[in-house]
C-alpha cells in the first residue's frame, strides 16, 4: 500500500467551533441573549495524514477526536478554520461541485435521499444529477439488485423504510456514480448480517474493478473488520498508527487463550495451578466451564503458554481469539499520552469536544 499515491491528504487540519457560554438554569439561558461570551471548542486539532489510493481505511480516533468533523471537511461540507485537505487533488470546500463528482457519502444519522420519494425514484434523480452514463447506471443497479435486494424496497417512500432498508439505499446511492472515494460516517450495517456481507462484497468489487478508496468511521469493530484492510489511528491530531488492521492488532500487549479440558480438577484449583506455573498470567473461569488465560505478551509467547497448558491438561478444545480492538486502541492512546506528555508542551487552553 506504500506504492499507491495518496488520494487524500490532510495538512494541519483544524476546526474550531464557537459555543455560546451558558450559565445553568433559566437565568443562564436568558443571560446568553445579552452577553457575547463564547468558548472556542477545537474539534479537530492540527491533524495531518495521507490515505493511499485504493485503500479501505478505517479512520479511528478516541471519542471526541473529531472524526465526523474531519469527514465533513474532507467531503466539503465544512470549511477548516486553518490547515487544508486535498481529496483526489481537489480542496473539497473550495470546489464543492467538482469534488462532489469524485466522492460518495453516507452519514448514518442523516439521510441524503428524498424522504418522500421511493428509492428507484431517488436513483433516477441521482442518475440525472451526476450524469451517470447508461451502461454504468445499469451495471450498478444490477449489482444492487443482486447484493442489496434493492427491488424489495419497491415504491415505499424513504421515510417509511426501516433503518436497515434505508442503509441499503444509502450505501447504494453513495456508490451509484462510481466515485473515486467514498466516505461512510457511522453507517449502521452491523445489525444486519446479510447487509454486512453484501457491503463487504460490494466494496471488494468496487475496490478491485474501479480502485475505489473507502474511508470508514465506525464504533462497530465488526463493521471495521468486514470492510477495511487498513487503519488510521489519530490521537490529539497525530497519526499514532497507520497500517493494516492486523498490524494494529499485533501491537496488543495482552493476548488470551480459552480452553476446555477433560481433567477432573475443579476449576478454581486449575486456575490456581496455571497462575502458579506462569507468574503474571491471569486465569479465570469463562462461559460454559471453560478457562480463559490472559497473558502479557512481554512475558510469554503464545507458544510457551500453549506448551504449558498441553503439558498440564488434557485439552478438549482451545481458542486463541483476536485481541480486542478496543483494548488495543486504549493501549495505543495511553502510550501516546505518556510519550507526548513532555514538560515543554503548554497546557491546552482549548477543550476538545465531540462534534
Amino acid at each position: 500500500m506504500t506504492g499507491s499515491p495518496p488520494v487524500i491528504v490532510a495538512e494541519n487540519l483544524t476546526k474550531e467551533f464557537r459555543v455560546a457560554e451558558r450559565g445553568p438554569g433559566l437565568l443562564g439561558a436568558l443571560a446568553t441573549l445579552f452577553t457575547r461570551e463564547h468558548r472556542i471548542v477545537r474539534a479537530v486539532d492540527g491533524v495531518s495524514f495521507e490515505i493511499p489510493a485504493g485503500s479501505r481505511t478505517a479512520y479511528i480516533g478516541a471519542n471526541g477526536a473529531g472524526k465526523s468533523t474531519t469527514i465533513k471537511m474532507l467531503t466539503g461540507i465544512m470549511t477548516p478554520t486553518s490547515g487544508r485537505c486535498l481529496v483526489a487533488g481537489i480542496e473539497p470546500y473550495r470546489e464543492r461541485q467538482r469534488n462532489a463528482r469524485s466522492i460518495g457519502v453516507v452519514f448514518g444519522q442523516r439521510s441524503q435521499l428524498w424522504w418522500d420519494l421511493s428509492v428507484p425514484d431517488s436513483f433516477r434523480i441521482l442518475r440525472r444529477i451526476y450524469d451517470i452514463p447508461e451502461p454504468v447506471y445499469r451495471r450498478n443497479l444490477r449489482l444492487y439488485r443482486e447484493l442489496l435486494d434493492i427491488d424489495a424496497l419497491g415504491t415505499t417512500p424513504v421515510r417509511q423504510l426501516s433503518l436497515g432498508q434505508r442503509m441499503r439505499a444509502e450505501i447504494a446511492a453513495s456508490l451509484l456514480h462510481d466515485p473515486a472515494v467514498v466516505f461512510w460516517d457511522e453507517p449502521t450495517i452491523g445489525l444486519d448480517m446479510v447487509l454486512k456481507e453484501a457491503v463487504r462484497v460490494l466494496v471488494n468489487r468496487a475496490n478491485q474493478e474501479l480502485g475505489t478508496t473507502v474511508v470508514l468511521t465506525s464504533h462497530d469493530i465488526g463493521d471495521i473488520a468486514a470492510i477495511c484492510d487498513s487503519a488510521l489511528v489519530v490521537d490529539r491530531g497525530r497519526v499514532v498508527h497507520q497500517g493494516t488492521i492486523q498490524d494494529l492488532l499485533r501491537t496488543a500487549d495482552r493476548r488470551s487463550v480459552t480452553f476446555d479440558h477433560r481433567d477432573p480438577l475443579p476449576l478454581p484449583a486449575a486456575c490456581e495451578e496455571i497462575e502458579r506455573g506462569l507468574p503474571g498470567v491471569r486465569a479465570s473461569e469463562d462461559d460454559g466451564g471453560r478457562i480463559r488465560v490472559d497473558y502479557p505478551v512481554a512475558a510469554f509467547t503464545s507458544r510457551q503458554v500453549l506448551a504449558f497448558l498441553l503439558d498440564r491438561f488434557d485439552l478438549a478444545d482451545c481458542y486463541a481469539p483476536e485481541p480486542d480492538l478496543e483494548d488495543v486502541l486504549r493501549r495505543v492512546y495511553e502510550r501516546d499520552a505518556t510519550e507526548s506528555a513532555s514538560p515543554d508542551q503548554p497546557a491546552a487552553p482549548v477543550e476538545s469536544g465531540a462534534a
Binding site: S68, G76, I77, M78, Q109, R110, L117, I129
Partner: protein, 266 residues
C-alpha cells in the same frame, strides 16, 4: 456556458416532472392548500368590496383599480412560489437538524439543488391563475388599453417582482445559518409583503418607506400597477436597480451562510 445552462434546464424539467409526480401522491394536501388559498383571496376581495360600498375611492384608487392591484400582486408571488417554496424548509429545520449538508455534496449548484426539491409547487400555480383572472377582469372593467410598451414590459415586471420576493425569502432563510432557525423572521417578512396587495397611498409614510426601500415589496405590485394603470414611470426606473440590489444582497448572505454551515451532531 450554454452547455451548463442546457444541463440545468434539462435538470429543471426532469425535477419539475418529479414534483408534479409527487403532487399526485399528495392530492389531498394539494386540494387543502388550493382551497385555503382560494378562501384567502375570496376574503380579500370581499373586504375590498365592502370598503367600496362605503366610499367611492380609497387613497385615490377606485374599486377596480384596487382589484387590479390585488390581482397583480398575486402574479410575482405565484411565480416565486412555484419555484422557491423549499426555502421555508431551510429557515425551519434544514440547518437546525444538520440536513442541509446534502445540498453541498451534489455536483450541482447548492441553491438549485435546494430549490429543485420542490419545483412546481401547486399553490403557486393557483396564485398565477387567480391573479391573471383578477387582472384581466378588473382591467376590462376599467377599459384599460395598454400601450405596446406596457404590454411588452408587463411580463418583465412580474419577473422582477418574483425575483424580489425570492430575494427577501432567501435573505431571511439564509439567516438560519447564523441563528439555526429563522422561521419567525421569514414569517414576519411574508406578513409585511401582504401590505403590498393594497395601494401604498393609504399607509403611513414610514410604512411606505419600509415597503419601498427596506423590504421592497412595493416594487412587486404597487409600482408596476401605477405604471400599467396611469403610465407614470416615477418609481419604475428604480425597479431594475432594486431587483438587482435585492438579489445580490440575498445571494451574498446565502454564500456567506453556506461557508459557515456547521453540520452539528455526529
Amino acid at each position: 456556458m450554454t452547455r451548463t445552462a442546457l444541463r440545468y434546464l434539462r435538470l429543471s424539467l426532469f425535477l419539475g416532472g418529479v414534483g408534479l409526480h409527487r403532487l399526485a401522491a399528495y392530492r389531498l394536501d394539494f386540494v387543502l392548500g388550493a382551497g385555503a388559498f382560494l378562501v384567502r383571496v375570496g376574503i380579500q376581495t370581499a373586504v375590498v368590496g365592502l370598503v367600496f360600498r362605503q366610499v367611492p375611492a380609497v387613497g385615490g384608487w377606485s374599486y377596480h383599480e384596487v382589484l387590479f392591484l390585488l390581482g397583480f400582486s398575486l402574479l410575482p408571488r405565484g411565480l416565486d412560489h412555484l419555484f422557491t417554496d423549499q426555502l421555508w424548509e431551510l429557515g425551519r429545520k434544514l440547518v437546525q437538524r444538520g440536513e442541509f449538508y446534502r445540498y453541498l455534496i451534489r455536483p450541482v449548484n447548492p441553491l438549485f439543488s435546494l430549490l429543485s426539491e420542490r419545483f412546481f409547487h401547486p399553490d403557486g400555480l393557483g396564485e398565477l391563475i387567480v391573479g391573471a383572472v383578477l387582472v384581466f377582469w378588473a382591467g376590462s372593467e376599467l377599459g384599460l388599453d395598454p400601450t405596446a410598451a406596457q404590454w411588452a414590459l408587463a411580463p418583465l415586471l412580474v419577473l422582477c417582482g418574483a425575483l424580489i420576493h425570492t430575494a427577501v425569502k432567501l435573505f431571511f432563510a439564509s439567516l438560519s445559518f447564523w441563528t439555526v432557525t429563522s422561521l419567525p423572521s421569514m414569517y414576519a417578512a411574508t406578513q409585511v409583503s401582504e401590505f403590498a396587495a393594497y395601494p401604498l397611498d393609504i399607509y403611513h409614510s414610514s410604512l411606505r418607506a419600509l415597503l419601498t426601500w427596506v423590504l421592497p415589496f412595493a416594487f412587486t405590485s404597487y409600482v408596476p400597477c401605477v405604471y400599467l394603470l396611469t403610465g407614470d414611470t416615477g418609481l419604475l426606473v428604480w425597479l431594475p436597480v432594486v431587483t438587482a440590489g435585492a438579489v445580490l444582497t440575498a445571494l451574498a448572505v446565502w454564500r456567506r451562510g453556506i461557508n459557515r454551515f456547521d453540520m452539528t451532531g455526529s
